[in-house]
């Protein structure tokens, strides 16, 4: 289980970092999401991995640490709000510059924005 868990965190983080370094906002948003998944799993693992144990002290020899679960819940809620915001922000970036380059480079146009531009009445 540990190996699978570690590989999952590693794959999510590596994919997230790769996507973060892309030049378009959509892959960047996806990269942020994947990175936050990796981070959430990592936080979860910081309370040690255990299956079928209770989050109560004294009931069994092995117990599940409830605190990382609370931390992960908080991180998920915050991450959700932040993702929603960054999606809206990239849409505004697209609307302001006519393309979804992260630097708002006006020379490079995406097919989607070109289409929108042509349809706009003069």
């Amino acid at each position: 289980m540990e190996l699978v868990f570690a590989l999952a965190i590693g794959a999510l983080t590596a994919g997230g970092v790769y996507l973060l370094l892309r030049a378009r906002t959509f892959p960047v948003v996806l990269g942020l999401t994947m990175l936050s998944y990796g981070v959430n799993l990592f936080l979860f693992a910081s309370g040690r991995l255990a299956t079928g144990s209770q989050p109560v002290l004294g009931t069994a020899a092995q117990y599940a640490d409830p605190l990382p679960q609370a931390l992960v819940l908080t991180a998920i809620v915050i991450g959700f709000a932040m993702t929603a915001f960054v999606v809206v922000l990239s849409l505004r970036n697209l609307a302001d510059h006519g393309n979804d380059h992260v630097d708002g480079d006006p020379k490079k146009r995406t097919p989607a924005s070109k289409h929108a531009r042509e349809r706009r009445p003069l």
Binding site: L32, V39, L43, L71, V86, L89, H97
Partner: protein
């Protein structure tokens, strides 16, 4: 256990919620309510400053959980000082914003107050994860504030700022996870007990977590390899927001001052002074980068954003050296530089509103109206920022220079700060003389009048450096006592024993 500790959090929270409900009320009513909230927050911060003056730690345990199990708010001298600094800066920026910058969206005042609340939580909390939550609150409010205003110039720097800070939040969570996995606690006082006991292989995990946390704080503070997001972001924000953001880099510095002397300080055994040998050269490099940026600035706005970077470098160098005198000097300079830079941001907005299409570009333009007022304010701000006598920036820098003992570090610190100040002075003189003195023939259209409110709030922020000179004795006594309190971690660890249940009940 005093309930006053929650006042700086609850007042802006309630005020912000109220702002959401009165979003469609007439503007004057909303403005009055918003300013009243800011004034009350400042009053609460001053009450806490008086409380903290007796060198004891005050603990507020949420839900009466005995530390380290619940979330605690801890008030000490450092927290109280940061609260007053933030609340005073916020009040003056808020006053400036009701001069017209708050129009355009209905959410300005609530976002502003939410950001104030996030900052206050960050300064009061005694829990590492709660610090993360506070950072998120102040960041999401700052994202909204940054996008406030019209035009399409803000979306790209705003996007960079948001993405970078989201990555920073992920790193924060990873470092929190690493530290928790070994120590089993996130209460800062408890960490200060547990971290020195960590040994063997586990030490490397905590060390990696600690270094990663330093990276997060360095990103917030804009230390050199992570500094390049700052100038464009701040230069694109509206004036009161940019001025209020002068405190945002100081939050990163606050995080370093709060966590590192306590958890990874001199008593941390094998991990003593973790990361500080890295921080010192990076701080000096940040200072140099800031000076280079200031020298090359094309607009007044950019000049002041690089001044922020310079002040981060100047502040972190003595903090990294970790002496008590250095810490006291850094805290003094922190007060001075935050107010001055905030005031300069506001002033530049006034200047650019007078210059029509020349805006705040450092180019020759026809003579502006209110030239005497604006240029003398600029003169005071620049003198304090560059660190010339007799204003407070000078005293801050002198105290920082005096705090070093002889050695290689002293040579580096003296050399960098003095050379840096000299070139900063050149940058300010060049900008000031081009903008205010070298006029061309003609007349400026579209200049908006400087109302007394705008002038007073700007003048008050810049005038803080005069006030700090007048009160230099009490303020430096306070910062010295703060440094003593910070470096003696036993008091903070004592907060674990704070009684949660009244005697006899």
């Amino acid at each position: 256990m005093t309930h006053w500790l929650l006042a700086p959090i609850l007042i802006p929270l309630l005020g912000a919620i109220l702002q959401i409900f009165v979003g469609y009320a007439p503007m004057p009513l909303r403005r009055v309510l918003a300013i009243v909230t800011s004034v009350l927050t400042l009053a609460a911060a001053i009450v806490l400053l008086n409380l903290a003056g007796d060198d004891t730690y005050r603990v507020y345990a949420m839900g009466n959980w005995q530390p380290p199990f619940g979330i605690v708010m801890v008030l000490d001298r450092l927290a109280a000082m940061m609260l007053v600094l933030t609340a005073s800066l916020a009040l003056l920026c808020h006053l400036f914003s009701i001069g017209g910058a708050d129009e355009g969206t209905r959410q300005f005042h609530s976002l502003f107050l939410f950001q104030l609340m996030g900052l206050n939580i960050a300064f009061l909390t005694g829990d590492l994860f709660n610090l993360f939550v506070a950072f998120e609150i102040l960041l999401i409010a700052s994202y909204g504030l940054l996008m406030h205003g019209s035009g399409s110039t803000r979306s790209t720097p705003g996007l960079h700022y948001v993405v970078l800070n989201l990555v920073g939040s992920s790193l924060f969570l990873i470092s929190v996870g690493m530290i928790y996995s070994v120590t089993g606690t996130l209460n800062m006082a408890d960490l200060a007990v547990k971290v020195p006991q960590v040994s063997g292989d586990q030490r490397f995990l905590v060390e990696a977590g600690g270094m990663l946390l330093l990276v997060v704080f360095a990103l917030k503070a804009a230390v050199l390899p992570l500094t390049f997001w700052l100038p464009r972001t701040y230069a694109s924000a509206t004036a009161p927001v940019a001025a209020f953001f002068a405190i945002m880099t100081k939050v990163g510095i606050y995080g370093i001052i709060r966590v590192y002397p306590l958890v990874f300080g001199a008593n941390a055994g094998e991990m003593a002074n973790l990361g500080m040998n890295w921080l010192f050269p990076l701080a000096l490099a940040t200072l140099i980068m800031g000076v280079i940026g200031a020298m090359g600035a094309q607009t007044l706005r950019t000049l002041v954003t690089w001044q922020l970077v310079i002040s981060v470098g100047t502040l972190l160098a003595p903090i990294a050296l970790g002496s008590q005198k250095g810490l006291a000097a850094a805290l003094f300079y922190l007060l001075s530089t935050t107010w001055t830079v905030g005031g300069l941001f506001l002033l530049i907005e006034l200047v650019r509103s007078q210059r029509g299409s020349a805006s705040d570009k450092i180019v020759m333009a026809p003579q502006i109206r209110h030239r005497t007022l604006l240029s003398s304010l600029f003169f005071f701000g620049a003198v304090s920022a560059a660190g010339l006598p007799p204003l407070s920036g000078f005293f801050g820098k002198v105290m920082i220079l005096q705090s070093t003992t002889s050695g290689v570090e002293m040579a580096w610190l003296w050399g960098t700060i003095l050379t840096g100040s000299f070139f900063t002075l050149i940058a300010y003189s060049r900008a000031g003389s081009v903008v205010f003195w070298r006029n061309i023939e003609g007349e400026i259209k579209n200049s908006t009048p400087v109302t007394p409110l705008l002038a007073i709030s700007t003048g008050a922020l810049i005038g803080m450096s005069v006030l700090m000179v007048a009160l230099a004795g009490p303020i430096s006594a306070y910062t010295s006592a703060t440094a003593v309190q910070l470096l003696d971690t036993r008091g903070y660890i004592q907060t674990l024993q704070a009684p949660m249940v009244e005697e006899g009940s």
